[in-house]
Every structure is written in C-alpha cells, then in structure tokens.
C-alpha cells in the first residue's frame, strides 16, 4: 500500500536511508549474527546426532527383538533335546514306549518339529541283532536303509511322530555326510550339535538336525575313549523345520518389526537364504544394517537386519537448522534495531526537519520567526520574492522597521493586544527594496513561552489592487449611473422646460397671428403691436432652439452620424455578419423583403452592426440549429422600416424574455444580477443602440414557435432619378 501521509512517507524514506545502518554503527549485530549462525550449525549437528542415536536405538531394539525371539525358539528346541536326553538317561533301557511317551509331547505341541528320533549307533557286527531287536519293538518291517556294507550305521530307530515319518524310520543317518559329521561332533564333544540347513526329506523340506549324544552308561567318559570303549549308544535327533521355526519365532509381531527387514542365511552350508521378512529387499542400501549370528547347537546362522527404506528419515535436523537460522536472523535484526534505534530516531527527526525546511523554503508565503522584541530570527526565501530582500539581510532586522510608517502604529497595537498562543491577522504595507509598496497579509502567533512570534505572510498586493480597482470601478459605475440619471433627468428637465417655453412662446405666436389673420385689431398701431409681439416670441424660440443643439451634445464627445443605406442589403449584411460571429453553421436565415429594395434606411452603420451582433448572439444562446425568419416591410405612413425576426425556440431565452422589462431601465439593471449568459445585457444594449438611431426594439416569446424581435428604423423611399433635361 502506497504511503499517503506525510509522516509515513518520511518514515519509509528513513527506512531506505543507509547512514543509520553503516557498518561502523552496526558491527556488533554482525558478530551476533555470525555467532548465532555458528550456533545454528551446532544445533543442526546436535539434533542430527540425537536423531541418529534415536534411530539407531530403535533399530537396535528392533534387531534385538528379532534375534531374541529367534534365539528363544532355538533354545526352546535345544531344550527339547536336552530334556529328552535327560529323560532317557534316567531309564537304563530305552524302550519304544518310553521314547514315544516323552517325544510325543513336543511333536504335538510344535509345528516346527519334523521329528524327534533316536538313531542308534549300530556296528556292522551288530546290525542284524539290531534289526531283530527293532522288529521286536513292534516294528515288524523295520530295516536299515539304504543298504550298504559299512563299519557302522546310525539308523533312525524310534521316530516321532511315526505316521508322518514312517518311511524315515530305519534311515541310516550316516549316509548324509553333514548329518554324520554333526553326529560325530556331538558324540565327541558330548554336546548338542546341529547341521546347517539341509534337505530333510523332499526337496522342499528343509531344516536343521540337532543332535544330543546318548551313552550306554551314565558314567562320564573322556571323548577320546568313546570309540574304544563303545559306550556311545546313539543320538537323539531333533529335526527342525527351519522356515517354520523362524516363522513361529517371529509370528508374534511387535511394533519395532515394522522398522526393519531381515534375512536369515545359512552360514554353514551354501549361505543361502533360509528365511526373510516380507519386507526384505535385496537391492536396497539400508541406512542401518547389522548382522547377528545365532547359534544353533554348534552351528550358527546369520541374521542380516536392515532398516527399512525411509527408516529414521527426519526433517527435524533441517527444521532445527532452519529455525535456528531464522532465530539468528531475528536476533540480528533485533540487535540492529536496538543499535540503530537512536540513530533512526535522529535520522527521522533530521529528515522531518529537512523536509519541513524544504516546505518552508519553497513556500511562496513569507514564513519566519520574530523575537518578542520584534527582531527577525529567521525568514524564508519568499521575502526575496515579495520584498526583494535577501533573507540574510532581513534576519536581525526589526519587523516594525520594515512596515510603512502609516501602518506601524496599527501593527504594534494589534501585536501588543494579541493573546498568547493565539494567531492574529492583519494587512500592512511594506516597502520593498525596489521602492514599491507591497501589501502583506500577516498571520502572527505570539508565544510568550517561547519568547517568539511565529509569522506567516502572504503578498496580497495584486489582490488589494484588484480590490481597489473594483472599489474604484464600483464608485465609477455608481457615479456613471448617477451621471446617466442626471443626464437623463437633465434632458428630461430641459425638454420639459423647452416644452414649457415653446408652448408659452407659441401661445404668443399663434395667438397674435390668429388675431392678425382674423383682423382682430382696431388700428394700424394694434396691428404693428401684434406683429411685433409675435415676432418677439418667434425670436425667443429661435434662441432656445440653438440651446437644444448644445444639450444634444452634452455628455457625448460627438453626435451620432447617420447615413442613408440600402435597406434590404444592409439588413441582410448585418444578419449574416452576426451569424458568422456566432459560428453556428446549423443556423440559417430566410429573408422576406417585400418591396423594400426601393427604400433607404437612416441609420448609423456601426451601431446597427453592433445591435444585430448583440441581438443575434443573445437570441441564439442554447440554439443548436434552426432558421431565423426575417421579414422586412415598409410602413409608409410612419416612414419606418419594420423588421420582424423570428428566432428558433429556446427555452432558456424564452424564460429570459418572459421576465424582461426593457422599458423599465431600473428593472433591467436589477435583472442583470441573474443574467448569467449576458442575454439581458445584450438585448438591452441592442435596444439602446436601435433607439439611438431613432428606432424601436421589442421582443416577445412565442414558446415553441420561437422568439420574435420587432425592430423599427426610420426609412425613406429612394428619390426617383430625374432625367437631365438637355
């Protein structure tokens, strides 16, 4: 929004000013800014670290949860083996019923167990006996397979659940190298061992085989002596479905599972993937990853845990950094503001003062300060314009000394009576250094508190002169009016006196002539007396006639010259001339001049032209178009030309005509007050000019039919040309 007040403009300019914000004054703010920005970086790093630590914690927690659950599952299965081993130790002889009793529980309660098996160590020599024994254990068709001539065998003897593993019963575990190795390891170390993930039965059935050794006696033997002493009876094997075990281990999901993905690899065998979480992606580079080894028996499988895409993504460090930067900038701005507050205030004050100084200096009014003692303290350049005085010269001068002597006392009185802090106005004359006297209108406010007078002056010389002129013109007009009235009155009086005189003298002339004509005298003496008296009256009249001419010239510089001009041609010319002046091409004229070509008009050409110009311009006011019908006729009896001009209608002119009273000059003068278009003035002037030519002018409104002017002017017939007689 644009500034629209003086104060707001100054404030905005001050804001753009540079001196207040110089580096010298504001360097501490820059130091603050640098420190704050450095702090922002630290904040960013701290927040990043915190977020990192938090994310790591979440990841570790999630990873540990997975590993823990898997380990728990593994321990659980190891526990089964150990329990079975412990149980079988208690029985001197392991029988089918005993095995099946204790093996049935885990197999029924766990979907992860393919089988719990007792694999007996059978030598070549004892093979047949073993088979016989096995068949006596209610396994009538028991046989060791695959067949082979080997020094020993590890046939699966007791197998639970038997129904699912019936074909497995009798299988010689030693035929599988990894299985044999695990068996030998567990026999030798007397510890739980395991294979890696191997194929258990069908190609799609994979799992671990976990082993616990079973010895004939519970006496402790040294491992190196096992083979020679033959105490090793066999192994208890737990076949665990690897995928199912991991599935069951992780079936109870926890919240942290969503943060990670993982894959479980067989590190013993091919290193192939045994199990993966549903969200595991191979071609993804995780933010966090960790590898765990989970032991199963004496083997370990590898759990690779990765953070999921987008894990720990946080805008917090960036936001913290941005917030910190913003705070730094705000702090910088605040510091700048504090540092520059004083400077800005000073700058604003200086600008305001400068600005107001410019206003004062460029003002054409005199603006200054005067001491209570009347001495100028300051004055603006306008004093040069008004009084042709240099401001430097005026300062220190007395205000009163600059006033015209005649006005001094008045000014001193006005100022001395002026109320404190209230302005007083007066007009005085003050001579300029060029010698001319100027009228200055002063508005002065006296401040006793400040000990000063605040003065604003305006050169009103032209206005005063104009006022004076108007006053003079008014008086002249008043006097002219009076002279006119006087002249009119004088002429009226003179004519009245002349009438009286003529009537008196004519009484004598007519009377005595009638007596002489009627021979009403009784003697020659009476006759002569009558003649002399009549002649006396006639002489007196003649001398008075001479006076008439003098009176006719009174008040005018010259008599009006009359000419005999062709009637038709003159009227036509004057009307056309007037129309040209009006410059309205849409107004035309229609002349009807009947038999007027034989007549001359007795008129003053100039007055006639002026009269028609005035008449036509006034009556065509507000007329857009139309025709002026001009009809000219001769009134032979009165020896005048009668002109009738019918103007196009004009409502405004009709209104004027309706209130026009041309015969009453005083009313006409009054109506001039409302004559905005000078219509009345022009018509009155036209009438006067016509009357000066012994004519008459009247005007009437016909409403919608137009406005009609009737003029009469003296006219006479053109004398017939006489043929010269030879």
């Amino acid at each position: 929004m644009m500034s629209n007040t003086y104060d707001s403009v100054l404030r905005e300019a001050a804001k753009k000013g540079t001196s207040v914000f110089s580096f010298k004054k504001t360097y501490p703010a820059y130091i603050v800014l640098v420190l704050a920005l450095a702090a922002s970086v630290i904040v960013w790093k701290v927040v990043s670290s915190s977020v990192e630590a938090s994310n790591r914690g979440v990841f570790d927690k999630a990873s540990a949860s997975v590993v823990s659950r898997i380990e728990t599952q593994v321990r659980d299965h190891e526990g089964i083996l150990k329990s079975m081993e412990a149980v079988l130790k208690e029985f001197p002889v392991l029988t089918r019923d005993v095995f099946e009793l204790y093996a049935s529980i885990p197999t029924k309660t766990r979907t992860t167990i393919q089988s719990v098996t007792f694999a007996e160590y059978v030598t070549k020599e004892t093979l047949d006996d073993f088979i016989f024994f096995a068949q006596s254990e209610r396994f009538p068709y028991y046989d060791v397979h695959p067949k082979g001539n080997k020094p020993f065998y590890f046939p699966a003897f007791y197998v639970m659940p038997l129904e699912q593993n019936s074909k497995f019963q009798g299988f010689d575990l030693s035929t599988d190298n990894e299985t044999l190795k695990a068996i030998e390891e567990c026999r030798d170390a007397k510890k739980l061992t395991s294979t890696g993930e191997i194929q258990l039965r069908k190609p799609d059935l994979h799992g671990f085989r976990m082993f616990m050794p079973v010895f004939k006696d519970s006496t402790k033997v040294v491992a190196s002596e096992l083979k020679t002493k033959g105490l090793f009876k066999g192994v208890i094997m737990l076949e665990v479905l690897a995928h199912e075990m991991f599935r069951v281990a992780l079936s109870q999901r926890v919240a942290t599972d969503t943060a990670i993905s993982f894959t479980i690899l067989d590190t013993v065998g091919t290193g192939k993937e045994i199990y993966s979480s549903a969200n595991f992606k191979k071609d993804f580079i995780p933010t966090y990853s960790q590898t765990f080894d989970v032991k199963i028996g004496n083997k370990a499988f590898n759990i690779q845990v990765h953070s999921i895409p987008g894990f720990g993504a946080s805008n917090l460090p960036l936001l913290a950094f941005i917030g910190s930067v913003i705070t730094s900038l705000l702090l910088f701005a605040f510091t700048i503001s504090i540092l520059t507050a004083r400077s800005r205030a000073e700058d604003l004050a200086e600008r305001a003062t400068r600005s107001q100084r410019r206003i004062v200096d460029t003002s054409q009014d005199l603006i200054g300060v005067i001491g209570i003692d009347g001495v100028w303290k300051s004055i603006n350049g306008a004093v040069q314009l008004a009084l042709s005085m240099n401001p430097e010269i005026v300062v220190g001068k007395s205000f009163y000394d600059m006033i015209l002597d005649d006005d001094k006392a008045k000014v001193m009185k006005v100022i001395s009576e002026a109320k404190d802090e209230e302005s007083t106005t007066f007009d005085v004359r003050m001579p300029s250094s060029r010698g001319e006297t100027r009228w200055i209108s002063w508005n002065i406010t006296v401040s006793k508190t400040d000990g000063l007078m605040y003065a604003i002056g305006r050169d009103v010389t032209e206005a005063k002169l104009a006022q004076e002129q108007i006053r003079i013109k008014g008086k002249q007009l008043e006097l002219s009016q009076q002279y006119t009235v006087e002249m009119s009155s004088f002429q009226s009086l003179f004519l009245s006196d002349a009438s009286f005189f003529f009537r008196t003298e004519l009484t004598g002339i007519i009377g005595y002539l009638q007596l002489l004509a009627g021979k009403v005298y009784s003697s020659e003496q009476e006759h002569d007396e009558y003649t002399a008296l009549a002649s006396e009256s006639a002489e007196a009249m003649l001398s008075r006639v001479s006076d008439l001419l003098d009176v006719a010239q009174t008040g005018t510089s010259s008599m009006i010259d009359f000419e005999n001009v062709p009637l038709s041609e003159t009227i036509t010319h004057n009307i056309e001339h007037a129309l040209l002046s009006v410059r309205n091409p849409n107004v035309t004229t229609l002349f009807s001049t009947n038999g007027v070509d034989t007549h001359l008009l007795s008129a003053n050409k100039s007055l006639l032209t002026q009269a028609f110009d005035l008449l036509i311009s006034s009556l065509l006011t507000d007329v857009q178009s139309g025709t002026i019908d001009v009809n000219v006729e001769i009134n032979s009896y009165e020896q005048v030309a009668e002109l009738q001009l019918l103007f196009p209608p004009s409502d405004s002119i009709s209104a004027v005509i309706d209130k026009l009273q041309l015969a009453d000059h005083s009313k006409t003068l009054i109506n001039l007050a409302s004559d905005t278009d000078d219509v009345i003035l022009k018509i009155a002037q036209a009438q006067s000019k016509i009357k000066m030519q012994r004519g008459t002018l009247s005007i009437d409104s016909l409403g919608k039919d137009g406005n009609v002017v009737m003029i009469t002017l003296p006219a006479k017939k053109i004398a017939a040309r006489r043929r010269k007689v030879a």
Binding site: T504, T507, L515
Partner: protein
C-alpha cells in the same frame, strides 16, 4: 348681455402673452386686470375680489397653486380660479381639478376658443 361674472384677474409673467390674454378677454366682454407676479395680484384680489382669476402656474414669486391655496384658505371658495400652464401632460386636468382649480387651460391657447373656454369653466352663458 352683460355677464354677471365679468371681472377677471390675469396673472402671467410673460409680457406678450399677458397682453394677448388681456386683449382677447377684453374683446370677449370681460373687465381684465393683469399682473405679472403673484404677490401683488393676491393683494389686489383680496381687496377687489374679481369673479375669475386666470393664473399661470409657473410664476416668478408665488406659483399658481400657492395663489389657489391662499385664496381658498381666505374663503374665496366660490371664486373661479383657472390654471394656465404650458406643462400639458396626461392627467394634469384631473390633478389641477383635484387641487381645487375650477379648470385649466394649456398653452398654446387658441385665441378663438379661449373666451368660450373661460366662460364654460366659470359657468357663464
């Protein structure tokens, strides 16, 4: 036939006109006494009480209307007083009659009808 009212006082400051009036009225059978000013005429009128007074309005001393007022005030209500004036404007007759004149005659006069006009105003046959 002798008129019952036959004494006339003419007051006119113009000598030739006054002589004309005297001559015409005398020939008309009146006994005429003339004055060129109002004051002496009034003195005479008060003393001699003529039947008819014909007075010009514009006189050098007292004017015709003042003579009328003086005479009427003094009780000469039945005296025929005729105004003679060169200011003949519309409404003057009514004005002079309203003032108290018995009639007025405007100049220039018609000598032939002057006497009959005077007789008519004075009510003389």
């Amino acid at each position: 036939m002798q008129n019952s009212k036959n004494t006339v006082c003419v007051i006119e400051d113009n000598t030739s006109i006054r002589k004309l009036f005297v001559m015409i009225l005398t020939k008309g059978g009146f006994t005429v006494t003339d004055f060129e000013a109002g004051e002496p005429a009034l003195d005479w009128i008060f003393e001699n009480q003529p039947d008819i007074v014909i007075t010009d309005i514009m006189l050098p001393d007292v004017n015709g209307t003042e003579i009328l007022t003086a005479l009427r005030t003094e009780g000469f209500k039945s005296m025929t007083i005729i105004a003679l004036t060169a200011f003949a404007r519309q409404g003057d007759q009514e004005k002079y009659l309203t003032m108290g004149f018995n009639g007025y005659i405007s100049k220039p006069i018609d000598p032939q009808s002057f006497v009959s006009e005077v007789k008519q105003i004075a009510g003389i046959e």
